[in-house]
């Protein structure tokens, strides 16, 4: 079984599922069940693939390589390291959850609308798996851009009232970044060894390009990833897109898709352009810290809860980038772990907020108040999700945020201290929000028939909260998965961890 | 270049230039077309003079004959009279057009002046068996593929023209019965519009009929003539018709309020 092309199969299953949905007759009644089945099948496949993966081995695994366009040096090459595998796992876990959460988003009115909706989600899943698994730079670029298509339609066709503008804004931003990256991708090929597999990542790392070329190529990739991530000051598309998108779409957009940005920084910027990365580090660190604080401050100011969640994500992405560019094992492990954790946290925040919106019909925070007395379970789970968002120890996000801060401190104490103020601000934006939503007397204008969490919604929330607790108290399996990949990255960059100023001898650890 | 040919050139050349200038300055399209035909014929003669008899004949027959006739047909359909105002609407178009054209002429002429043309070889050797035979050999041997392609191009062009000129009916054609029924229903011209030209002195369709009270019925004049302003006014009770446009058009209408709809339908 070990020579099964696991990644290709995982890529093909949701893609074929999406195709099948499109080919089904109009008004296919079981579209949702079918899509859920496909996504669960993908999940099971990912589990099997995960079993094949040898934890602790820092090489690319589950490798597949086929010649695709040899004239241009493009291959269809897939492979995963710990970071990629964890991101793929995150995707395949979140997609079924989102499908369940989005069960009633689009009415089954006999038209093709519902089929289209779930088909786009499945297609997006395929793209996400592809983008994390691609080990050919050009293939990565293709997935990177192709991902925009499903999201564009998910927002533009199924989103809120201002969906057209939001979708266009999202597309323009992403395309801008993508095109800059395309230039860098082509430029990279010309400095690489060329040949029929000249775009393979393995052929492009460790090139020692040097000089202005390397800096320019680095910038080309970095700008694309910074827009995707999104970092201050190119973040403004995210709040808009996340607000207009359906909660499930927003989850996939913010929870998984944006991770491509930080993932790309790790995989491409740092590994292929180590010298330029070190050159850019001071600026990136400043931007990351700004993102942390700026995102948090703006989250406090928001009146729309989806916007608020989007801004918290900007703050959290600041932490992730900070950890990546602090370039210590601790901080980068923290960042990669944060990428996983943030996926779950944001998913819970968006989906639970979505449940509230579905009941109240408004995203404005001021329209709520006292909902702990209307829907105690939703309010309670919202609080748990929020506490995860403010990195309460014992819940998932804490470990990663802590690792980022202490890891960064080893090299950039000032940045770590400034970034850590995000901890205080996080308490403010989450708790003030929760206070406005859930506390206070029972609202009088809410129908007494408003239902608390339904069984379907419990199935959405339960796995997420389970993930919070497991990752909070026992993150070791995930960390073991991530750390070898991080170590490899740091070797490529050529930095070593700073040793403790006091060399501990005879410590009992 | 023999003396005769030189004479021909210096007579016919300026004529062609004049003709083309006529194309440039003529107010009416018909005049322009005639000037164009002149140029074509002139060019045909030049071809013949240059030993390209077959092409020259084709030029005169096909171009001056067929193509220019086509132009004239279109001009007649579109309207011989339709002239466009000579006031330029695009800013700077006239100045820039002249400037660039003269510049082009200058650059091209200057360029030509610097070219040393070879001594003319003449076509005697090339078409010893006659122009037509030589051309046929050329076309059906070396250029046969181009020729075939051109043939299909022509067929496609014809089909394209048919498609373009064809007008799809949007509504089914109304039968006499329906038209009559509608006239009765709307109570307008139940008996049909009055025929024109019943006035004794003018038995032509550009003259309106006179109603029993002696007023002219404008509706009796075909609307194409009205649109071109070619209807022939008639005096009414001693008033000079030229300066008078009585509201006769509505005179037959059963009710003034109907006028708008009825006219709209007829337009």
């Amino acid at each position: 079984m070990s020579d099964m092309p696991w990644l290709s199969i995982m890529l093909a299953v949701p893609a074929l599922g999406a195709l099948a949905l499109v080919l089904m007759p109009r008004g296919f009644a079981r579209a949702r069940e079918f899509a859920l089945g496909v996504s669960l099948l993908t999940f099971v496949l990912a589990l099997f693939a995960g079993l094949e993966f040898i934890v602790g081995n820092s090489k690319m695994q589950l490798v597949e390589e086929y010649s695709w366009i040899p004239q241009f040096g493009v291959s269809f090459a897939l492979g995963v390291d710990g970071i990629a595998l964890s991101m793929i796992m995150l995707s395949v876990i979140l997609v079924p959850i989102c499908l369940v959460a989005a069960w009633d988003d689009v009415p089954a009115d006999g038209s093709r609308r519902l089929q289209g909706y779930v088909a786009w989600i499945l297609l997006l899943e395929a793209m996400m798996i592809g983008v994390f698994a691609a080990t050919d730079v050009f293939l990565f670029y293709i997935f990177f851009e192709a991902m925009l298509v499903p999201v564009y339609f998910l927002i533009g066709q199924y989103g809120g009232p201002d969906r057209a503008r939001a979708a266009t804004k999202f597309l323009l931003y992403s395309l801008l970044g993508g095109l800059i990256m395309l230039v860098a991708v082509i430029g990279l090929y010309t400095v690489g060894p060329g040949g029929s597999d000249g775009f393979l990542l393995a052929n492009l790392t460790g090139l020692e390009i040097g000089g202005l070329t390397e800096k320019l190529l680095f910038l080309g990739f970095f700008i694309a990833f910074a827009i995707k991530a999104p970092m201050f000051p190119v973040h403004t598309w995210l709040p808009h897109a996340a607000t207009e998108a359906r909660p499930a779409t927003a989850v996939l957009l913010v929870g998984v898709l944006d991770k491509v940005g930080t993932f790309g920084m790790l995989r491409f910027c740092l590994q292929m352009f180590p010298e330029a990365s070190r050159w850019a580090t001071p600026v990136v660190i400043v931007l990351a810290v700004t993102s942390v604080i700026y995102g948090a401050l703006l989250a406090i100011a928001q009146k729309d809860m989806m916007r608020l969640i989007a801004f918290t994500s900007i703050s959290h992405f600041g932490f992730i980038v900070l950890g990546i560019f602090a370039m210590t094992t601790v901080s980068q492990t923290g960042s990669t772990l944060y990428m996983v954790n943030h996926g779950f946290t944001t998913a819970a925040l968006f989906l639970i907020a979505g449940m509230l919106v579905a009941r109240r019909g408004s995203r404005t925070i001021a329209d709520y108040g006292g909902w702990q007395r209307v829907t105690p379970l939703i309010a309670g789970t919202l609080l748990i999700a929020g506490l995860s968002g403010l990195s309460l120890p014992g819940l998932n996000a804490f470990v990663s945020e802590f690792l980022v801060i202490v890891g960064t401190f080893q090299r950039y104490p000032a940045a770590a201290v400034l970034g850590a103020t995000g901890v205080i601000l996080a308490a403010l934006y989450i708790l003030l929000w929760y206070q406005k939503i859930a506390t206070g007397p029972r609202p009088e204008d809410v129908a007494s028939t408003t239902r608390d969490m339904t069984v379907r919604e419990k199935f959405v929330v339960a796995p997420l909260i389970a993930a919070f607790l497991v990752l909070g108290f026992y993150p070791k399996p995930v960390i073991d998965l991530l750390e070898p990949a991080v170590t490899t990255t740091l070797q490529h960059v050529g930095v070593t961890d700073p040793a403790p100023t006091v060399t501990a001898e005879g410590s009992e650890g | 270049m023999s003396g005769g040919e030189a004479l021909l050139f210096w007579v016919l050349g300026p004529t062609c230039v004049l003709g083309s200038l006529g194309l440039l300055f003529a107010r009416k399209a018909v005049h322009a077309a005639m000037a164009m035909a002149l140029v074509m014929v002139g060019l045909g003669i030049f071809y013949i003079a240059q030993y390209a008899e077959f092409v020259g004949i084709i030029q005169i027959f096909v171009y001056s004959g067929a193509v220019m006739m086509l132009f004239l047909f279109v001009i007649m359909t579109v309207g011989v009279e339709s002239t466009t105002s000579s006031v330029e609407t695009i800013g700077g178009q006239r100045i820039w057009g002249w400037l660039l054209a003269l510049l082009f002429l200058g650059v091209a002429a200057f360029g030509l002046g610097r070219v040393t043309f070879p001594e003319p070889v003449g076509l005697d050797a090339a078409q010893t068996e006659g122009t037509v035979t030589a051309l046929a050999r050329e076309i059906f041997s070396r250029q046969v593929f181009s020729f075939e392609v051109l043939g299909s191009l022509l067929v496609i062009a014809v089909m394209g023209a048919m498609v373009l000129a064809h007008r799809e009916r949007l509504v089914p054609r109304r039968t006499q019965r329906e038209l009559a029924a509608e006239r009765v229903r709307s109570n307008s011209f139940v008996a049909g519009k009055p025929a024109p030209g019943v006035y004794a002195r003018h038995n032509a369709s550009d003259t309106p009929a006179l109603l029993p009270d002696g007023t002219p019925a404008a509706v009796s004049v075909p609307r194409v003539l009205v649109a071109r302003g070619q209807e022939h006014p008639v005096p009414y009770r001693g008033i000079d018709p030229a300066g008078d446009t009585p509201e006769t058009e509505d005179a037959d209408l059963p009710a003034p309020s109907r006028s708008a709809t009825t006219r709209g339908e007829q337009a």
Partner: protein, 99 residues
């Protein structure tokens, strides 16, 4: 006097044709301007044919005439349909192809 005078004449005719296209607004006249330019080229081709003593120029002239005929057919049909739609023969009235 060499054959180059024919070329100069062709150049002058071509320029005038271009001017017609640029300055006249009646669609049909503009179209005739295009024809004039084509004919000017034909004249040059015929002259070159005579200069070089081979028949290629004449063959191309024939071809140009065929193409011109096809063009005229389609072009006039377009003019007709524009006129039908807009009741105008001015090229400036067909200006919707823009941003």
């Amino acid at each position: 006097m060499s054959l180059s005078v024919y070329i100069y004449l062709a150049t002058i005719l071509f320029t005038i044709g271009a001017l017609v296209v640029l300055l006249r607004r009646n669609t049909i006249i503009v179209f005739m301007g295009v024809e004039l330019m084509l004919n000017a080229c034909n004249l040059a081709l015929i002259t070159f044919s005579r200069m070089h003593g081979n028949l290629d120029g004449q063959v191309y002239t024939l071809f140009v005439m065929v193409v011109a005929a096809a063009e005229v057919v389609v072009g006039l049909a377009i003019i007709m349909s524009i006129y039908r739609a807009r009741r105008s023969a001015s090229v400036d009235d067909a200006n919707l192809l823009k941003l």
